[in-house]
Amino acid sequence: MRREDLTARMAKDMDPKLFDFLTTYVDSFVKWDLLRFFHENPHTMDTAENIARYAGRAVEDVQDELQNLARHGLLEERRVDQMRVYILRSDPVLRTRLQQFIEATQDREFRRKVIYHMVRR
């Protein structure tokens, strides 16, 4: 199946808000991990190095993904002294979307779609 076909099918099957969230923020397993991490620990404020340690991932993998999530507006990147610190944006709409996404991933079929979306990119 061509990528366009799959995307069209997913868009048809999925809640449009979830589909939008998925295509905007979730394009790698590390990002998925980070979304889950910030959902479970919504008041985290820390450096990429420490977040990588909490998430059990390599800092070089996490650094780029955090910056990317900040560019797309899910996280806020702040300069604290010489450190770059990441926090989850307090926007309630965004936080609700994140919660909906994490809840949706409890469903096996939805997880399969997310994985397919990531590997096809």
């Binding site: 008041h43 420490n50 450190m83 610190v85």
Partner: protein
């Protein structure tokens, strides 16, 4: 006579030991070995405030908020609901980031304190600060600045600190002397072995600017958190972890009256 405001801990028996509770805008250290209930005491303090319109913050280094939700639930405290009501926030961060954040006007913690009207904070635990400075004097300066920054926000602080040794006194780390000196109140939780049974002991070693109970008391961790009980009687050397029974003649003369 003017009645001094106190910040109640919510731990039955402990407030009486503290002459009503902590003094406002003070730093209060709770030190003990793993499993003695330092974090539980801290959570109980935060919970007591949250349900009496004194919102609180838990600042955790390395312990995941999930662990606090879970542990609190076991005592019947719904921390998730308190977070939804903006009466509690559990911040996961690191000593270096929070230190730098607190030093700047309009930092993340300062904004959060203002926004939720926080009056209490639990810092769990200060042991992690040891990795920031090797020199004891530098560490002391760092801790002094950190505690003052929290007090500047009008927060009454509970700090936990792990002691590596399970019983009695072990080797002191370079943080020990600094933090014990800087803290306004110093509460020690200890395991003691009495007649082949491990019991828990609590003592208020220091409380700056206030009278306090000097007795070494038993405590238990029950279904609703810590509960301070009666003093140990007829024992000496409790803080060594292996007390000895006092001589009967001494007890007759000085203890049982």
């Amino acid at each position: 006579m003017h009645k001094e405001t106190r910040v109640a801990t919510g731990v039955p028996g402990l407030d009486a030991m503290l002459n009503g509770g902590f003094l406002p805008r003070t730093a209060n250290l709770v030190e003990g070995a793993p499993g003695t209930g330092k974090s539980t005491l801290g959570m109980q303090y935060i919970y007591e405030g949250a349900r009496h319109d004194e919102p609180g913050i838990i600042l955790t280094f390395e312990e995941f908020p999930e662990q606090y939700y879970h542990d609190a639930e076991a005592f019947g405290w719904d921390f998730r609901e308190l977070e939804r009501q903006n009466r509690l926030k559990i911040i996961m961060s690191s000593p270096e980031v929070t230190k730098a954040d607190l030093e700047h006007v309009g930092g993340i913690i300062q904004n959060l304190v203002s926004e939720m009207g926080a009056q209490r904070i639990l810092v769990d635990s200060v042991t992690h600060f040891e990795s920031l400075r090797q020199d004891p004097m530098e560490l002391r300066k760092l801790m002094y600045g950190y505690l003052n920054a929290l007090k500047r926000q009008d927060l009454t602080i509970v700090l936990t600190r792990e002691s590596a040794h399970l019983f009695g006194e072990g080797l002191e780390s370079h943080l020990d002397a600094s933090i014990q000196f800087l803290a306004d109140t110093y509460i020690m939780l200890r395991y003691v072995e009495i007649e082949s049974m491990v019991q828990r002991a609590i003592v208020v070693l220091k409380m700056r600017g206030s009278a306090h109970d000097h007795a070494i008391r038993q405590y238990e961790i029950g279904a609703h958190g810590l509960n301070v009980l009666r003093p140990f009687e007829g024992q000496e050397g409790l803080l060594s972890g292996a007390p000895k029974r006092m001589k009967d003649s001494f007890i007759k003369a000085f203890v049982r009256r």
